[in-house]
Structure formats: C-alpha cells, structure tokens
Symmetry: C2
Subunit: 700 residues, 2 copies
C-alpha cells in the first residue's frame, strides 16, 4: 500500500503549478484506492448486497463518490453540464444517519457495475481536465473553486473508511482477503492497563479560517473550555479487558446501560461486540475481509453505548467514576503526549493513514508520550456530542454536512483508525456518529470526579424566536430597531452608570445588551421563556445559533458570537427574567428608567399597564414607550385599547389615548418620533413596522 500513502494538501504555501500537480496526484491516488477497496468483493454481484440493512448497497458508494464531485461542481457553477443526470440523482444521497430502529423501505433500480465504472471513468477524466486547467491562485480558501475539488477528494476518503466498515459487515464468503494491504499478524494476551495522570489546562479548541489544510466547516471557530486534571488509561480498552465485562454479564445488566443503550441492546439482542464471533468457547474477530482468532491485545471495537456501559460497569466495581474522555480531554492528551499533526509528520505517529497495517494492531504497539494509540489504531469515542464551535459557519456548498448532526445525538470520535487518511488523519478532524453506530472505533477510559457538562448547541428552529434573533442580532444593523432605540435612550439619559433600568420586552435581548455598559443594572423581562433563553445563552456560552428561512424549504444557518458585537463585557449586569408586563411581580420596582419596546400591543390590557406603570418608577424617572399601536381585536379586547377607535364619535388616535391616560402621572418629554422595525420572514419577505417612541417623565 506504500504507493498509496498521501497527506492532505497545504493549500496556502507553494507555487500554483506545484500545487496543481500535488492536487492532481492526491486526486488520482484517492480515486484509485477507493476503487481498490472494492477489489475485496468476490464478484460484481456483491455490489448489490448491503453491508448493513440500514445502509445502501455497496454499488451506491462506488457511484456516490464520483457523483458527489459532479453535484458539487455543478452547484458551485464550476461546470454547467452534468455527466449523467440520472446517476447524479440516484447516487446523490446516502442513508448514513438514520436511527437503528428505522428501516429503509425504499427500492432502487441500481445500474450495472460496469456502467458505474464507465461513469467513474468519465468523471475522473473530467476532474483531471478541470484540475489541469482551472485557474489556480494561492491561497485556496473556502470560496476558491479548488476548495470544491478538495471537498470531493476528502469526501471520497471518508467513504473509503466507511465503505470498509460496510464490507466488514458482509458475509465472509462474499469477500477475498489480501487484496487491500496487509493486516497485522501480531496478537497475544491483553496487557495490563493502568490509569495515568494528565494535567489539566484551559483548552482553546477550533481551527482558524486561515489554517493551511482543508477542513470541514465544523472544525472552525473558537471554543474555550477548562479541563481539570484527570486520569486516562494508558492503552485503549482491549478485547481482553472487554471480555471481563461480558463475563460479568454486562450485556444483560440494565444498570450499566444508559436508557438509549439498553433500548439498543434489546433491539439488537446484543451479547458481544458486532465484529466478535464465538464458536463454543472460542472467540474470533471479523476484520474487513477475513476472520482471525481473537487478538486479545487489540483494541475492542464497539459503539458508544457499549463503551459507556463498560465505563459504568467499571465505575460500579471500583467505586470511582470512569467514563469516556471529552473532546477537550482528548485534545489535552494529544498536547501532553506531543502528538504531531499531519504537516509535521515524516511518518504517521501510529497505526493510521494506511501507513502501518490494513487492520488494527495491539494496543501496546504505538506509543505517544506515556500513552499508546492517542492517534490511530481505532477511533476513540468521546462523551461529547458534536456542535459547532462559537464562530461556526456553514459551508454554503455543503450546508448539510455538519448541521444535521448538531442535535445532541451524534458523539464525536477522535484519533482516527488504521484506514483514516487525508483530513481524517488530522488532529482537527471532527467526525461524529449516532451513538449506536459502528465504525472502526473503540475507546480509552478516563477517571475524573469533575461532573460531565455536555454542551447542547442546537440551532433554534422556533420560527418566531429565530426571526427575533435575526431581527435583533442579524447583520443588517442599519435598520436594527434595538440598536437605534438604545442610541435614542442614551441620548436622553446620557450615560448615567448609576441608574437601574427595566426593559419590559427583552425578546432576544439586544436592547438590554446595548444598554448594559451605561447602566448599573438592567432587568430585562419577557413574557416568554422561549425568547429569553437565547440571550441567557449569549451570557452563558457567548453565542447562539438559529435557522432562518431562505425560500421554500431552504434555510440559512446563523450564529451570533457575543464578543463579535462588542457587547460581552457588561453582559452580567443584565438579569433576564420571565414575567408578564401586565402583571409584574412586586419585586420589579424602584427603577430609574422603564422601557416598554413594542410591548403595549402584546398585552392583554394596555390601559391597565399605562395606569399603573408609574408605581414601578422612581420620582422623575423616565418611561420610554415604543409602540406600533397594532391593537388587534383578536388579541386585545377593544375596551382595553388606549386608542385607535372613535370615542363620542371622534377619532382618538393611539398616541392621544396614551397621552390622556399617562398625563395623570407623567409629562411628555419629547416630540414622539418613528423608528422602523424590520421583521424578516424570508429572504424575499420583510415586514416593516413603524414604532412610535414617546418619552414620559414621572411627576414628583
């Protein structure tokens, strides 16, 4: 396999023509090794079999990696003609991410293997031509056409690995050994494992956008996490160690399993890892294309649910807390073990990149620092469900690579396996699978008394909340109502520093954040907890995410990072609370300024509010009302409207009505003026509301 060894490309340094040659070679080797993988199938018939009942037939993957190139080049408008419209449809979408209890009932009319090979050849020819002729200047950045070519190559390398897992699931008599490199032949008893200390550190995760290597969108951004000291097992957990869990009836003891794990175990009736075989008392291990007597000193390969059950079994036995590492702990381990990243390799620092074996190998063979297999051998499950780091942006040409997995149900695997190449072999690689899913993956355990804190940064999909985020925090700041209102308020109040302000329509918090630097304390109330959990997230995590509509079913993924807005320093002066502005708790009183931004029209009884709000305000305090006067009879009984009706036959405008109610306790301070409030509904639809701002001073 040595002729196939490659590394992912440095996209920033070098000359364009040398880069063009490098990329062409990288493409050709990727294409070739992908096809070589399927040489392990006994015959073309096997292409129509499934390695896993929940995945496509193998032929799909042969076509898919080629069709992907064309689909992305077409989408990016680098090409304007398709190679084969039909193939680029049927080979478009994998069935990778479904639940284990969700059966694929679809029927496909798969073409002949030879037709797919013909198709691959045409695509290959086209790609070689494009790589040779497309204008190329360095650096190759996200929006560079060659980024799309790198995307296709790295995508094919992912499938090299995932297809090898599918082939590993075929019946043994359908595959031929020895066609795809050399397996490790060393095996023996499991070495005695031990827990070694790892010093903690403040970890800064995430890749910069100017990093020289290709990366998937989920690798970029910034995430800071404090990792306390912990202990980690010197070796990956071996088959030998895992056997003890089986012997102690681990697969039949519900207590060891998470609820999700136990459900899976029952559905599968699992009694041992998927690739284990048992005949009488003899265990053996299925590799990709052969079975070997169980190598007890190789890493056990399991899913997350099994790994977690093992940890819980071990915790129960030892009275100490064992679990899997978090992503940050795994990164910390690479730091203390000084594991080099791909550009610094002469050779791979472990059984990875197809540089050593075409199989796992003993857990005590490749050392990194005091530990073994920090990189390579098999992937290592972590406790961490994948999310984007703060600053995450979706790559527009592959907008569903990452975001569908940001659901709290996909855990990261780290470290790569013997067949992980290209981007997969980099330290920054972040792949994540459903927790029941099988890859060439095992685990290392850690011991830590620090409670596990799992981030869950889903994209807000509640349309109203997400639209509010966009309106308050989106990029179109020229029409940002909250920013403009804040400026108007500060012009009136100066920058008092020692005053307390009550915001009665916090919504997703922009106004409060804008005002926080200039006030002693801000209480920001919203009627709905749905809304204020977003600014609370901004306070706690520093970012929030949401989805807004483009057109039809198409969406944009948005992220707001508080520090990017410059509003993070005084965030802790704000207290976001859920309450009803029409029925506030008694504690909300004694304010110097009360702001009611577009909240009158949302109250059950605006009149009651106007009659009583002075009670919450200090003498000489200011009441600032912004309102669109949009009294809808469906929401507010007309007898509760302050205006917008005829009284004694004459029209009473909303403003006049408000003035007449407030004049008992307030004097009007300004000439009311309009501020526009833009409510985005989709890329082509925006509602503009004019909100009138009036400022009232409480009489003494």
């Amino acid at each position: 396999m040595h002729g196939f060894i490659t590394k992912t490309i440095d996209l920033r340094n070098g000359t364009p023509e040398a880069k063009r040659r490098e990329i062409l070679e990288y493409f050709e080797k990727t294409w070739e090794i992908d096809e070589k993988l399927y040489s392990q199938l006994n015959s073309d018939d096997i292409f129509y079999h499934r390695g896993d009942p929940l995945r496509h037939v193998l032929l799909f993957y042969l076509g898919h990696t080629a069709a992907f190139f064309i689909n992305k080049l077409f989408l990016a408008k680098i090409i304007d003609t398709r190679v084969n419209h039909e193939f680029e449809s049927i080979f478009a979408i994998g069935v990778d991410e479904m639940s284990w209890d969700d059966l694929n009932e679809k029927h496909y009319n798969w073409p002949a293997v030879s037709a797919v090979h013909d198709y691959r050849n045409k695509v290959k020819e086209l790609l070689i031509n494009i790589i040779q002729t497309l204008p190329l200047e360095l650096p190759i950045t996200w929006d560079h056409p060659f980024w799309i070519i790198m995307m296709g190559i790295e995508h094919e390398r992912i499938h090299l690995e995932t297809s090898s897992v599918l082939i590993r699931q075929l019946p043994l008599n359908e595959v031929t050994a020895g066609k795809f490199g050399t397996i490790c032949t060393e095996s023996g008893e499991a070495p005695k494992n031990e827990m070694l200390p790892v010093s903690g550190s403040e970890m800064k995760l995430g890749k910069k956008y100017d990093h020289p290597l290709y990366g998937w969108d989920n690798e970029y951004g910034k995430h800071t996490e404090e990792v306390p000291d912990f202990k980690a097992s010197k070796f990956l957990i071996s088959n030998g160690e895992f056997l003890q869990f089986i012997k102690e009836d681990g697969y039949n003891t519900e207590n060891y399993w998470t609820e999700e794990g136990w459900n899976w175990r029952n559905f599968k009736q699992a009694q041992m890892p998927l690739f284990w075989r048992k005949e009488g008392d003899q265990y053996s291990l299925r590799l990709v294309a052969e079975e070997i007597p169980m190598p007890w000193n190789w890493p056990v390969e399991v899913n997350y649910l099994e790994a977690k059950a093992y940890c819980n079994w071990k915790t129960a036995k030892a009275g100490k807390t064992f679990r899997l590492p978090t992503e940050a702990e795994w990164i910390r381990l690479t730091e203390v073990c000084k594991v080099p990243d791909v550009p610094d390799w002469k050779t791979a620092p472990g059984n990875i990149n197809l540089e050593k074996y075409s199989s796992p190998c003993p857990v005590d063979m490749f050392k990194n620092g005091d530990f073994y297999d920090v990189m390579g051998n098999v992937w290592q499950w972590t406790e961490t469900p994948i999310t984007g780091y703060a600053g995450f942006k979706v790559h527009p040409m592959y907008d569903d690579f990452s975001t569908p997995t940001f659901d709290g149900k996909h855990n990261l695997i780290k470290g790569g396996s013997w067949i992980s190449t290209g981007n997969e072999a980099t330290l920054h690689a972040r792949y994540a699978f459903r927790r029941h899913f099988y890859q060439h993956a095992g685990f290392r355990i850690v011991e830590s008394e620090t409670p596990l804190k799992i981030q869950n940064d889903e994209y807000e999909t509640d349309t109203e909340v997400a639209n509010s985020c966009e309106n308050m925090w989106g990029e179109n700041s020229a029409t940002n109502f909250s920013k403009q209102l804040a400026q108007e308020i500060l012009e009136i109040t100066g920058k008092p520093q020692d005053l307390e302000l009550l915001d009665l329509n916090a919504d997703t918090g922009r106004l409060a954040f804008e005002l926080a630097p200039y006030f002693k304390k801000i209480t920001a109330i919203d009627f709905s907890a749905r809304f204020i959990r977003m600014p609370i997230q901004l306070q706690e995590k520093g970012f929030m995410r949401y989805i807004v509509k483009d057109e039809g079913e198409l969406v944009y993924y948005r992220e707001v990072v508080l520090s990017d807005t410059g509003l993070d320093e005084d965030k802790d002066k704000i207290l976001f609370m859920q309450d009803n502005a029409n029925n506030l708790k008694p504690i909300y009183t004694g304010y110097d300024i009360i702001v009611a931004p577009n909240v009158l029209e949302e109250l059950t009884c605006p009149i009651l509010f106007l009659k009583s709000i002075h009670e919450r305000l200090n003498d000489n305090g200011l009441l600032i009302i912004a309102s669109t006067y949009d009294w809808e009879a469906n929401n507010i009984k007309s007898e509760h409207w302050p205006g917008g009706f005829k009284l004694d036959g004459e029209p009473v405008t909303s403003f006049d009505g408000i003035k007449s109610i407030l004049s008992e306790n307030f004097t009007l301070e300004n000439t009311p003026f309009d501020l526009p409030l833009m409510l985005r509904k989709s890329s082509r639809i925006v509602e503009q509301r004019l909100s009138e701002v009036s400022i009232w001073r409480k009489k003494q």
Copy 2:
C-alpha cells in the same frame, strides 16, 4: 322671524375683518334661533321626552349642537382644553341613522336643563372669543380653522330642522303654538296636477373645491350623467292627491310597495302619513306645534317608501311609468326653471329659509319657471341613494358625516323645506336619509320610460381587495410595483401597438391599465372576481372607492379616479376576465406577450404552469415572470414547487428550478432582477416582498 334671516357665508370674497363680522353674526343668529326652537316646549320637563322612540330625548339636541363645536375644535387642535368633558361625551353622538326596527335600549343620566343652558352659554362665549381672535385670512378653505367654525354653524342649522321634526312628533299638549314664527293659514282644495315636459341634457353634477360656500364633503367631485327627456308633475303631490291612494286601499295593497316598504308598513301598521290625524271622517294635519284641519292643497309629507308606493299605484292605474325623480333630474329641473342659488337671492325663491312661513304652504303658491316648489315648501324624495361623486374626499375632521350613508340605503332629498337654512338652502345641498325616515319631506312625480339605473358606489371593505387597490393605485407611486413592472416591460418590448398581451394576475388592474396605451389588446385574468370587479368599475364608472386601515378601528376612505391617473384613454383595450391561470380556458391563446406577475406562488401547481404556458404564446413571444418564490407548504404541495428545496441533497433555488423547466421551450432573455412589492397593511405596517423578474423568449 325676519330678524333671524341669514344666508350661508361667501368664504372667498371680501376682507378678513368684514368676514369675521359676518361669521360672528351668522354664528350668533344660528345659536339664538336654535334655542328659540325649543321655546315651543311647554316646560323643561318636555326636554326629557322623545319625539321619536328611536331618537334621543330633546335635551340631547340642545346640548349636542354646542358640544359638537367643542369636539371638532378640540379634534382640529384649535383649542386644547375642553369646556366640560362629561357633556362633550354624553352630547356627542346622535341616534339618527338607525333602522326603524332597531330599538334604543340605552339609558342615559341626562343633566338638568339649566346646566345645559349654562354649558351652552360657556361654549357660546368661547366661540365668540375664538371668532373674534383666531387669525383669519381668506379664502377659508377645507383645512382653514374657520372651516371648523362654519362646520359647527351649519351642523347646528341641520339640527334646527331635524329637531323641529322631533318636536312635531311630541304629543300636542306638550308644545305651545305661535312661539316660532307664523304658520301659513291659506288652504283649500288640491289643485289639479299635470305632467309637464322637461328637456333632457348631459348633466354635470358636483361642486368644485374652490366653490365660495361652505359644503359638506359629499357635495364635491364630478359626476356626469345623461338625463333623457322626462315629464314632471307641475306641483308637489298634495295631501288631496295622496288621499286618493289611501281611499283606493294603497296602504293595504302589497303590490304597490317595495319589499322594504311593505315590511315597514307591516311593522308600523301604517294607514296614512305620520302627521295626518283622522277623527271620524275628518282629517287634520299635525304641524310642529299645532294641529290644523287638513289643508288638501299643501304637499303631502311622507317617507320614500310611501312616496314610492304612491308612484307604483299611479303606474298600475295609468299604464305609464311614474316614479320619483333622480338627483340629476331634480337638478335638471332647477336648470330649466332657472332657480337661483343662495348667493344670487334677494329673497328666497320659495317657502324656504324661514323667509315665508313656519310651516308648509299650498303647492301652487311659489312658482319656479313652469313648475312650483322646485325649491322649498317640503323636501322632495329622490330615487337616488347617496354616494360620493367621483373625486369625493372625506373631510378629515368629520370623517363619518357622509361615508356611513354611502350604503345604498340612504336616499337623497332635494329642494329644502320651509325651515331649511344655511347650507340646506343651497342647490348643492345633498342630505340623505334612510328610506323609512320622516322629515318635512314630500315628493314630486316624474314620468319616464328610461329604466332607472341606480349607482351603488359603496366603499370596498374586503381587506384583501382594498389593500390591493391601495398598493396598486394608492399615492406612493415610487414603490408601485405594477408601474415599475410596466416600465420594464415597455423597455423590452418597445411600444409595439400591434401586439396582444395576456396578464395572468390582474388583481385590481394597474398593470393592465399601464400597458394598455402600447398594446393592441390586453386580456387580464384574475382567479378571483372579487378583485377584477374593481378595475371593471374603473372602466365603467371611472372611479372606485375603498377603505384602508389606519390604526386599531380607525380607517381612511380612499377614492381613485381613473382620469386623474391619465390611464383612462385606452381602458377599453383591456378585457378583465376571471379564470384560473393553472387551468386557462382554451380561448386564451395566441398572445405575443404573457406576463405572470406574482402569480406562480398562488397556483396549485406552478410546475404544470411552467411546462404548458408556451402553448398560449406565439413563436418568439415573451414570457415575463415576476415571483416572490413564496411557496408555502400550506398552499402548494411541495412536489409542485419548481424550486426552493433540496434535490438529491443539493439546494435547488426557485430560479434554477424554473429555468430548468422553462429551458425546453424558452431561452432566458435577461439577467433577472428584483422589484420591490409593498403590501400596506395599516398606517404603521407594510410588508415588503422582493419579486424577481425574469424574461423568457419562446423558441421557434
């Protein structure tokens, strides 16, 4: 009464200080005669009685004419303090316009008469002060503060007459005769009436906005109507003539009555006119404050329903068509009889303006040309329900004076009565009442074979239709989508003159009207007849009216006059038709240009439309699509969307999807561009949609 004779003021000619004195005198005389009217009540107690069970107690009207001044001055911000907040509420709204079968169940706590007199005195003092001190420059136009003062005066003069009708309905023992001028004492047998010819003419109705006299908003505008030759009765119908109808059982013969009339007759169990009394065989007549033996030669006073029944009885007997005059016929009668208008009077041309009697008088006493009582004696019912003339605008300080009566249920009375003064006595006066209502009103009959054509120009209140009118025809033309799209179309097509165009979303028609001058023929289709009846009205009547929301329940009344837009000349090139753009009738074919403005997103199946629309188009013809791509899953099944979804995992934009469907039969002609479409929802809410315009040429 001669000391009280006034005429409404010329508001354009003269000097400011003379005008100020004139207005002050007009105000003071109005005030005084209004109070004098109530001197006919026997005691203050009678103020708490009702003349009509469906109207307020008389005290209301005493307070109302004063409170009206204050309410209007306050609304117009001429004063900023009220005189008596409570009085200005309880004396605000009359109960004038209710249906005869609608009972007033409200209870009022009416104040003491002396308190109301005190209030009137304060208001009078304030008004005198205002009239003496308010800056005054001529001319006094609609928006002039003195217009509001004139409004108050003319309003009081209306109530002078209507209150006299209420007093006429009190029991005889509650009133004292002889306190309000002198009644006519001449009476005798009814003269023989005859039908005299009146030559027809094209009549131009409506007052110009620079007319020197005060007018209510409904008097202004332009209305043209062809009046064919007709005959009119020389005299008003007398009590004597009407008696014959009663004797021939007219009140009990359903055939003579309209359905509305018969319902009223049954509800009231009416057997003769309201003010007739019958004891044994003796008839007498109730006047305002006395009863007199029936003066058979005086005009009968009835409501429209009785007058109409009389005409139908007469038609049935004579075999010729008798009816009431229309408004235009009455105006024509004033022309042929050369009846002068108020500024040209030395004395009144009939029993009007309180210049002759405080009662009706014989129908053969005051001659105008060959006819009698064209002006004065009693009002004359017409066949014409009141509407605004084309160009009608609501006066913003009294926006419900006219528009609530534009409902097809209020018929005009013309000519004035013996107590009609001020504006009421002018030729332009246009008062209208529910058809069952009583005033000092009778009728003249006309004979005409021309079918009666009643205008019915209600204000469109269907929110969607009215908003479309406003968006297409309202004043904000800078953002008028239809105008802009028309300009874009004309830039592409030139101004071809000989081509036929199909507009597939006529809506309220603006695009078709904009394009009509430059095409041979335009077919404008809309899915809904609700919408196209508006542009059809523009074609047929030259104007349309609608109501749009201001805030809360407050609205604006709008009118569009086609000739004001300059789009009237080619209106007849347009054929507005109702049809479904997704299932067009076969006749709609052979067009040179098809425009589909924002209609794709309204279709059940946009894909079907895109696949088949070329069949309607000539070779080389143009298809112009404007769309917001707003496919809503609620309206259109997602399999019918042309784009805005993911296909084979990749996003397909709406434009790309449309392009891929159309490319079989069309080539794209332009770089698609966006046009903004502003959808007004209220004064403070506008939705902006971006519609993308793409132009496609049909392949040969």
